[in-house]
């Protein structure tokens, strides 16, 4: 079985993003970029399934700017067999990403697609579900445990009410939550090995998908700031302050 993995590059989770004063966007010059943490979890899961003999090949996909090669090399160094770079200079919204992934699914015929539950830049939490819909296949979102059987998967999901277990027929789309696994660290020899692994580059337009914006972002604003509070000296003062506000 082949596994296709979404492997998006995002602003690193440690960066405190700043909105430009004129509201035209966020400051992206010089900020650290990293693989989306949920996609590292997706790739790790795929690699483990390959190591267990469940999967035979792991293919990572990134959709985005021309300079994604170094980013994809990270995923190859982590252990993916090969990479596909769908190149576009436009910002890719989830519906477009899902349509692109569907084209790749039709071409690659994977038994499983694993993507992150959300990309931590846009926080949309949509792409996996949209791909499953367009592909007319099952989705198991927010996965914290995945067991693959003959032609089905049993997936435990982190839902608001607790942990839900679903059984889905394969092929299917799984989206990862934080507790699914802990991604491995990349070792130096793996970086060397990754240099010879193939990266296929496809122009987004050549897939017959338009990257046309569905939603237009017209303005960016910083979030309202909370007023600075006060430090209290001891528990008695804290209780008095809360009583004063009618909170206890």
């Amino acid at each position: 079985m082949k596994i296709l993995v979404g492997y998006k590059r995002v602003v690193d989770y440690n960066v405190r993003i700043q909105v430009k004063p004129d509201g035209s966007g966020v400051v992206s010059e010089g900020v650290k970029l990293s693989p989306n943490p949920f996609d590292e979890i997706a790739l790790e899961e795929a690699l483990r399934l390959r190591e267990q003999g469940v999967a035979s090949e792991v293919v990572i996909v990134a959709i985005g700017a021309a300079d994604l090669q170094a980013h994809l090399r990270n995923g190859l160094a982590m252990g993916a067999n090969r990479a596909i770079h769908v190149s576009t200079s436009d910002a890719v919204q989830p519906l477009t990403a899902a349509r692109v992934l569907l084209k790749l699914v039709e071409k690659e015929r994977p038994g499983l697609v694993i993507v992150g539950k959300q990309a931590i830049d846009d926080d949309s939490n949509q792409t996996g579900q949209m791909l499953a819909a367009l592909w007319d296949r099952p989705q198991a979102t927010f996965a914290s445990k995945v067991e693959i059987g003959a032609d089905k998967a049993r997936v435990t999901r982190e839902v608001d009410a607790g942990l839900e277990t679903l059984e889905v027929d394969l092929p299917a789309v799984i989206t990862t939550d934080l507790r699914l696994n802990e991604p491995r660290f990349i070792k130096l020899p793996d970086i060397m090995k990754a240099k010879s692994k193939p990266i296929e580059v496809l122009e987004l337009a050549s897939l017959g998908v338009s990257s046309g914006d569905h939603l237009k972002t017209t303005h960016y604003a910083p979030p309202p700031k909370r007023g600075k509070g006060v430090m209290v000296k001891n528990v008695a003062d804290l209780v008095a302050a809360l009583k004063n506000k009618g909170l206890v």
């Binding site: 989770y13 405190r16 700043q18 989830p94 519906l95 539950k117 959300q118 931590i120 846009d122 926080d123 949309s124 939490n125 949509q126 996996g128 579900q129 949209m130 791909l131 819909a133 367009l134 296949r137 099952p138 989705q139 979102t141 927010f142 049993r154 999901r157 982190e158 839902v159 608001d160 009410a161 607790g162 942990l163 839900e164 277990t165 679903l166 059984e167 889905v168 027929d169 299917a172 934080l178 507790r179 569905h214 939603l215 237009k216 972002t217 017209t218 303005h219 604003a221 910083p222 909370r226 509070g229 006060v230 430090m231 209290v232 528990v235 008695a236 804290l238 506000k245 909170l247 206890v248």
Partner: protein, 313 residues
Amino acid sequence: MNKILIVAEHQDGKLNPATARCVSCALKIGGEIEVLVLAAAPDAIARAAAALDGVTRVRSAANPANAHALAAVLAPQVIAAAADFTHVLAPSTTFGKDLMPRVAALLGVAQVSDLMQVEDAHRFVRPIYAGNALITVQAPGDQIVVATVRTASWPEAKAGAAHAPIENLALDVALPAHTRFVALQSGKSDRPDLQSASRVVSGGRALGSAENFQIIYALADKLGAAVGASRAAVDAGYVPSDMQVGQTGKIIAPALYVAIGISGAIQHLTGIKDAGTIVAINKDAEAPIFEVADFGLVGDLFKLVPELQQALG
């Protein structure tokens, strides 16, 4: 005129309060507001929805296949019911996040996630980058709007005396059998629900173990509060995952939030930005949580928390 369809979220035969928050958002958009109840036994849920102020009609579809909220099963029914609507909304809970992108993709439209504010019927404010930027997005005016509602941004619509009419729907659509519910393991307790509680006490990595976390539960019970946690506390196994508060957990807006032994990483703060009053207890006076806390107390939680519990009488 806008026609807004809200997909009801429910659990154990009860309407989830997140649905009433969607009604408030729909009132801001303006127009006719209908609620769609997809359930195995929808009657009590439909009645609760019909009582919400602002709801003009409830559409109720009984089907044993709707016993569990499976996105692949619900999505085609939502689409069949939404035919002449301008907007379809659901809460931005794991229920809505799972379902609505599937609905949007089948309709061939984008989805707007996490509506915080409504500028007009097609212009909305939503957070990105863990809430560090708020963007105004414009959805196409000639397409149905599919969106999830950030529940922490909206009050619950009140239940009034008037009842909207309830219409039974027979949705004649083929439902897939490729996705099957197996089990729900729910950490049910008598404590208030984290997403709707007016008071929440959360613990972080500093608690050190599941046993030590008991002092958080004890304080919460004293306050009649729900209990939450940081990702670090969940990852370490002190508490179950449904207690995680933050960017990738639950986004909450209680009147009182007490953060104990939590440093205040941006991913955590995203989840509590809309809390009324934030109290932080941390031994490190430089911890970032103090930048957002209304009341901060520096010291050892293992000494201060029992003291606080005592002082609350």
